[in-house]
Symmetry: D2
Subunit: 397 residues, 4 copies
């Protein structure tokens, strides 16, 4: 039973979530040292999570003699520097989302890690939520047939730290912050071997006085014909809306990760209120907390996969290559928003080929069956198409 | 208390729904004569609904001496002929959706009715659902601020009559069948005086062996910057999904018209099953019927508005001009799907001008307030933007 | 097409709802005259609803020459006086719930009406909600097998008018106010010919400084063995919770009439707010309005049945006898709460006999099949009971 | 970082769930040896979970030299024998629910463990679900004021193993199987120091041909006046319904643990289906799986608390004394069902005293304020009670 000691780079909200996950339940892995630019924030984090050491020296944290895994939980513009340093130090590196500010940056990180031959993992938590994993399993078992359309939604009233709002530091706005999740969710549902071919994207800055987009929608067309549609917003009112929908030829999956998960609370506001949930907007009236955020948001299963993969000498479900693909798709989104047209996804494709979703219709007496409905009396109503004339007719059989 | 006698043209599902609505509850208006091409279907309809006469002569039905209102519940390709005849007959005409197969056809109908000076109503039921009406009222009262984005969804496994599937008879596929609802829903939420400027649309035929699209998504950009997004499908599995979502600067509205309305039933299938709901896919397992379909789908409030408007000498909420606007937007959708680019909406605009959604941010000591969060201890955390440098910072006050 | 002119007795919330229903949509029946003890309230009501006359003379209102139906929408303690006067006047009388303050009072009203030979209707709206009607139809069609248990819940933070709180004027607390609905709901689901045999009830006054109960639960045991369980409260926080659940041998029905019906709204509170829904507690945060309250609460279908029954010379679905049965059950509830034991329901029973819910188990090789489960591999797992020894065993077949 | 090696007694469904939990994620505790009466089932379990040894010798399993904790996951009638043996062996013992078949048996186990001075834990998972824990925290923070009423529901179509159905082996039917969960849930919400005073219970055997009850409802009255109401059934159709509701003087909590948790799937049944969820009834149509059952059902947090408590030398949240209290309440339930009256809960009470839920009403000019409503115009409507006359009146201020 192997166990890992971790260097945590970064003490923001995501560093907190990661460490709560690692130290939660009966886990055997531990954060050994934490790095922050700010000595005060580092110390506060150390105390908050029972970590042995904090430091303001990133290199020292990375090269700490007792850790074998480094988690990069820093703002986007610091990822490349950190990942390069970890690769040089020869340790396993797990990087928070998005991998880079653009595909070029992501690619350099991927190359550095692959060249160094170290383990790399992409910390995309939302494909690891228990509901996501169960849905993927159902799809693999054929429960909904071929996937035709994936809708992934992530919206909230805007991020909680200043740097998120500065597109120079992040690479963009709501797409880079939230769309990266949605894109990878769509890839997991349509199949990672299903090449993202082209993208149509629309962005606008509707509410906040910023340069980056605060609302966006995009369609990613995959080789099979399936569409990955994502909707992101920093102007949603009512909390954080995380929903995924998967349509298939034989079924449908609807996932609600956050605002409607079976826990509903009304409070007249007499109590202290306290923490309700990430990005909750109110502490009175009807509230919708989630039970265990680190589990529901996928952090638990994500780190399990990462460390198990490391122990077993296999790739994790989410690799740095996946992070690079996501960046390549986001780059195409921004190009499309600018050109107002479909833009190709430019990337080095390592997956295979996927055939088009097949249409192999049933026939009835030489006619194509368009639809079959069971009538209340047990008979069937067929809608038929004459292959020669293209005319349609009803038939009761 | 005025009362109307109605000529019903058409005996399909929509004619049934309309007549159930008119004859339902304690209504005072009645269908007096029904027209069908088929004498058998006409007679069956007459008996089913307790109507006095049926006929296979459309002109006779329209010119029936005892009716003052004609409802056109015919397939799309017969609308123009019927509307022209009613206009000539000098009677009030109510036309089911969509008005035409394209804007040119819709325009000719509009002109005919306006030239004849008769009352015209566009039977777009889904903007009249009790939930839609209540939502519009809340928006007018300022409950959600400025509307930024409307999402309207209508999906089901495909229509029940053969003619729907023949794009030559209808003008298109899922867009013409379902998108017309969504477009008008969006218009009602962003404001009918908010000009639809341009459209981006994607269509595909993913499952059914037909020429028309069985899946589509479109963005309609309105003059205020608000987006009307619609998603339609003839390949959805699980029943009929009718959902609208409205995002505003200060609030959010989520409407579910059909599959999740507070009535849930599990049946092991022992019973006769019977009619569950329009386009339900199964009659065992978990089922989600709606209480009163004609009320929940808006038919009741729609006819009330139509006949009240007629009695009061005012325009109804939905006019033939609205039908024409919808057709113009759908035309732009098909052009966009073809050109793969944004296409302008070409129409004679009778509405006014709408200013852009305003961004008038709060300031704090000369800095722009991007976001304000209340901390558990009662203090506020501000995210500020320096107007000179464009840099962002946090401040606790 | 017959039409009725109505005398409305009472101008409170329920009088408003009734009149909104009658005057709503394209209805043909009208309130002709309204009675209130207070001239001011009468006039306000007259203006609000476009009624021709108001009066403070109850007899004059009842005997108004142009009305043929009198609706009693008065506080409980005035029902008997009003009903007697209407019976004497020989007009149809429709009485709001509960019929009486106790069964004796209800019985006297029933006798007066039956002796006068006039039409009597019991205005129990909640069994007429579209969801209730659809559920009853499904049960009649056999969708859930034999009904075993009905749960009816009605809770809110307490009534809006002073007289409700005075048990001397009403006959009790939450049971008389809300339990009367629940009891009749249960009767409609288990079958009205299913005799209510005995009752166990618990009451407490947990929050409000009043004599009457502000919380209660009761079990009504019907002749078939089915249980009607009701839960009522004047101390619920969060709005008005109206839910019914019906368990059957082959299925389940869950009905939510009010707080979760598919309309969800978040408002930061910037707007005027306005009316959200009956007994809503807040006007900001997450709100759950209903679309059309008078339809969703059953008023529309209730008056349709009442007036149609009158026109057709038949009994309505809800008669004054039903009101009397409900009072008899509530009397047993109060006796049970006092005696802390099961109490018989004392009433003149006009229904028939109902056999016990049958248990006719499947057998397998001489053993009784307790349960049958389909295994993933297609085989069946049986749980069997040996009729001789009473021993249980598993068997895979 | 301490770690435990576990002896698992029993290889049924619950043993599987426990072991999946312990071996899941990155846990550091492991099952070292498993005991089953059946060598075949023991070996299958060993292989399935990667356990080192299986044995048919219970004593050998308990006294295994490398384990320090024994988990009793056996049928109810074997608990006492197993617990006594573990106590004698001087190891920590964790016992599945219910502790005993009755309070006397539970008491003997409690005594044995306390006399031996070993660590004892009661494996009541449902009070440890993430939603339950979050709800308890909110209540402790005052979010809903004083708890007035807890409703706990657990229903499904009946257990999956033969022994559950034999009341001689279990101690009863649905109450012993499911009610034990509900009772402890109620205790956690009303406060464990809140003495259960008396019980009213109703049971019936409505569907299955067995001696034990297949449906039951009970009210547990606690010293504060709060009611713990539980509803259990082995005849529910539609899956497994696990819901808890907590009403308080200032708020409300609704928890849905299983059938409506934000994961909804429709499948036309083309796929293999596979495992949907515990006690799911169908594998086609609309399905409602849960994401991660062992987390959502509380197993994860339960074992964390148990092992952490053991490591920290403290009592776990759920002790064997709690198991004994639950049995004492269930004994009172069966007595009440028999006597058809309230029955006292007979137990050795180790908790404290709880005052009655307080009613300290606001007053206004010498009158008691019964209710205060904010009117749309900003004024307040008060319902007042005159303390002298007991009369009620409205006042607008």
């Amino acid at each position: 039973m192997k166990q890992h000691d971790v260097t945590m780079l970064g003490t923001g909200l995501i560093g907190d979530f990661y460490t709560m996950t690692l130290h939660g339940q009966r886990g055997r892995d531990r954060v050994r040292v934490v790095y922050s630019r700010s000595a005060g924030r580092g110390e506060a984090f150390r105390t908050r999570h029972g970590v042995l050491e904090s430091t303001t020296d990133m290199q020292a944290a990375i090269r700490h003699p007792e850790t074998d895994v480094v988690v990069v939980a820093l703002p986007n513009f610091l990822h490349e520097e950190a990942v390069s340093a970890v690769a040089e130090a020869g340790k396993a590196v797990l990087v928070t989302k998005p991998l880079g500010r653009d595909a070029a940056e992501a690619r350099r990180m991927l190359d550095a890690v692959e060249k160094a031959g170290v383990f790399g993992g992409y910390l995309e938590d939302l494909v690891y939520t228990p509901k996501s994993l169960k849905s993927m399993k159902a799809i693999q078992d054929g429960a909904i047939g071929d996937v035709t359309w994936v809708r992934a939604r992530e919206t909230h009233p805007g991020p909680h730290s200043a740097w998120f709002w500065d597109h120079r530091l992040t690479g963009g706005g709501a797409i880079v912050d939230l769309g990266c999740h949605c894109i990878e969710i769509a890839r997991c549902f349509v199949g990672k071997d299903n090449r993202p071919v082209e993208v149509m994207c629309y962005t606008d800055t509707l509410v906040h006085p910023i340069e980056a987009e605060d609302n966006a929608i995009a369609l990613v067309r995959f080789e099979s014909g399936a569409i990955g549609q994502f909707e992101v917003s920093w102007t949603f009112r009512g909390g954080m809306d995380l929903r995924d929908e998967v349509a298939g030829t034989h079924g449908t999956i609807w996932v609600n990760h956050f605002l409607r998960t079976g826990l509903e609370m009304f409070t007249a506001g007499a109590g202290e209120g306290g923490y309700v949930a990430e990005k909750a907007e109110t502490s009175a009236g009807w509230l919708f907390p989630v039970g265990d955020e680190v589990s529901e948001l996928g952090y638990t299963d994500m780190f399990t996969d990462m460390f198990d993969a490391l122990d077993e000498g296999r790739q994790p479900m989410e690799t740095l290559y996946d992070g690079y693909v996501v960046n390549a798709i986001m780059d195409a989104c921004y190009r499309s928003a600018e050109s107002r047209a479909w833009e190709p996804v430019e990337l080095e494709w390592r997956g295979g080929m996927r055939p088009r979703i097949s249409k192999s219709p049933e026939t009835h007496e030489g006619q194509v069956v368009i639809k079959r409905e069971r009538l209340p009396d047990g008979r069937h109503k067929l809608i038929l198409k004459d292959p020669a004339s293209g005319d349609f007719s009803d038939r009761i059989i």
